[in-house]
């Protein structure tokens, strides 16, 4: 049995307007696992993922990483924790006016001191590493273009490269293919799976499309109204259970 890398204990999130987005999520994730979270719109998938790297702060429970409750982390610890967590977004969220390689180098910021990182004095090794990561997602030739000159699928691969450049333990992907056509979606998911398997990076992917979740995930977690209502391998996700997850 592989070791546990992340443990969620009764994680809750109530937004300031009173919305209960997470109502006590408890689960463990194992090393190298590719977990897909599915659920209808507003179920709390994004909130859950963003709680893991503290882009939003849970209002209750514990999240354990390497034996520590990361919810108590402040500034320095939080920065160091975040570099273990690569994140990929639905809207790619690249700095559009900066070059592709610059965006990938942002993945190194967490390892640099504030000043040299701020002024963009990346080391030679980091630059070579960024190029290497770009060639892993098939974009070596595009390294010096402006990020917004690339197609959607290419931009999302830059997003993956940025996350990989962090040398993360966990990849968090929030609907990485929701804005892409089926072909690019397939392509992006393939890169994601390939890298997560090769580097044994635990990957948690929010997906809208159940088909993709079945195809790519080792394990599927169904979320409904802030609670886990299904947790198991794709084979156990029957038609009836899928319907149960998606009916409100």
């Amino acid at each position: 049995m592989a070791e546990t890398v992340l443990e969620l204990r009764d994680v809750k999130k109530v937004f300031s307007d009173g919305t209960e987005a997470l109502k006590g999520i408890t689960s463990t994730v194992k090393k190298g696992e590719l977990v897909s979270i599915i659920g209808s719109s507003g179920a709390g998938k994004s909130t859950l993922l963003r709680s893991i790297n503290r882009l939003n702060d849970p209002t209750g429970g514990e999240i354990l990483f390497q034996g520590k409750n990361i919810l108590s982390f402040k500034r320095r610890d939080l920065r160091q924790y975040r570099r273990h967590m690569g994140m990929i977004f639905q809207g790619y969220n690249l700095v559009k006016r900066s070059s592709v390689i610059q965006n990938v180098l942002h993945g190194r910021l967490g390892y640099m001191n504030t000043l040299s990182g701020g002024f963009g004095h990346f080391s030679k090794e980091d630059s070579f590493y960024a190029l290497e990561v770009l060639s892993r997602v098939g974009l070596k030739d595009q390294a010096f273009k402006r990020a917004d000159e690339l197609s959607g699928g290419q931009q999302q691969r830059v997003g993956i490269a940025r996350a990989i450049a962090q040398n993360p333990d966990i990849l968090l992907a929030d609907e990485p293919i929701a804005s892409l056509d089926p072909n690019s979606s397939w392509n992006v998911m393939n890169y994601l799976k390939q890298i997560s398997k090769e580097d044994e990076i635990t990957t948690i992917v929010n997906l809208h499309q159940v088909d993709f979740a079945r195809e790519f995930a080792d394990r599927i977690i169904g979320v409904k109204a802030g609670e886990i209502v299904f947790d198991g391998p794709p084979a156990h996700l029957t038609e009836r259970k899928t319907q149960m997850i998606y009916t409100t």
């Binding site: 570099r83 994140m87 942002h106 910021l109 940025r162």
Partner: protein, 266 residues
């Protein structure tokens, strides 16, 4: 259905054109534009034009000095304008302002400043600080602030926060998020508008000399008072050359900015 719509559109267009034409001719008669004075003015213009040639400069060195002074005024006014605008824009942008009322207040102030022409500012500052280049610098600075605060604040408001989330998620510090995320998003807008403003200020600096007793605008007024049309033409040509040179310079700077932007990120 769509044919009917097209038909209707065409009728509306014809109506507008007819009304506009009628109004034009009505205005022509109402304002008494086609009268002897209008026709006579051609003669007058012809007379003046003939006295303009050849363009001459009595004291060429003085003109050159005046041109340089106007340029200096424009540079100083632009630099001060940009610095204060950046400061004020931080309070005018809704997503940065400590409170919405402050943002509202700063924006209203900028709108007011914008509504007052540069010439009026120059007159006000002459009263306040006396003649010389200072009132013109202040007038240009204030006039620039009116425009730049609005534009800077709007581009700050358009910052895509989700991109900043992504940079933050890598473990970047706040300073790094600003330098690597916010600055690239703002830089090219900031620079191209500032350069554009410099362009405007050069023209204004020449014109403001008219009231400010100095710079090349003053030389122009002096020549016109003496009815020295040949000198006026020469001075106008110098102004034209100045603006042309700056135009080329700013275009060069803009190209450089685009290059530097691409380079800075490699």
């Amino acid at each position: 259905m769509s044919e009917m719509k097209q038909e209707k559109n065409r009728t509306t267009k014809n109506l507008i054109i007819t009304v506009a034409a009628v109004f034009f001719f009505f205005s022509l008669f109402q304002l008494d534009v086609i009268s002897e004075t209008f026709l006579a003015s051609f003669d007058g213009l012809l007379g003046i034009t003939s006295t303009m040639f050849p363009p001459t400069l009595d004291e060429p060195i003085d003109i050159f000095g005046a041109a340089v002074e106007s340029l200096q005024v424009a540079i100083m006014g632009t630099v001060f304008g940009i610095l204060f605008s950046i400061l004020l824009a931080a309070f005018a942008a809704r997503n940065l302002a400590p409170h919405w009322s402050i943002s509202y207040a700063v924006k209203t102030f900028a709108a007011f400043v914008r509504a007052v022409p540069a010439l009026i500012w120059a007159l006000l500052f002459i009263v306040a600080v006396g003649l010389g280049p200072t009132p013109r610098i202040l007038a240009l600075a204030v006039n620039s602030i009116g425009m730049l605060v609005k534009i800077y604040a709007e581009s700050i408001e358009e910052i895509d926060e989700s991109v900043l989330d992504a940079v933050k998620a890598t473990g970047a510090s706040k300073f790094q998020v600003i330098m690597q995320g916010v600055v690239p998003m703002l830089l090219s807008t900031f620079i191209s508008w500032s350069v554009f403003r410099f362009d405007i200020n050069i023209r204004y600096a020449a014109v403001l000399g008219v009231v400010g007793a100095g710079g090349i605008g003053w030389e122009l007024v002096r020549a016109s008072r003496m009815l020295a049309y040949d000198q006026m033409l020469a001075i106008t040509l110098v102004i034209f050359g100045m603006i042309l040179a700056v135009e080329m310079l700013t275009r060069f700077m803009k190209d450089r900015v685009i290059q530097v932007n691409a380079k800075a990120s490699s």
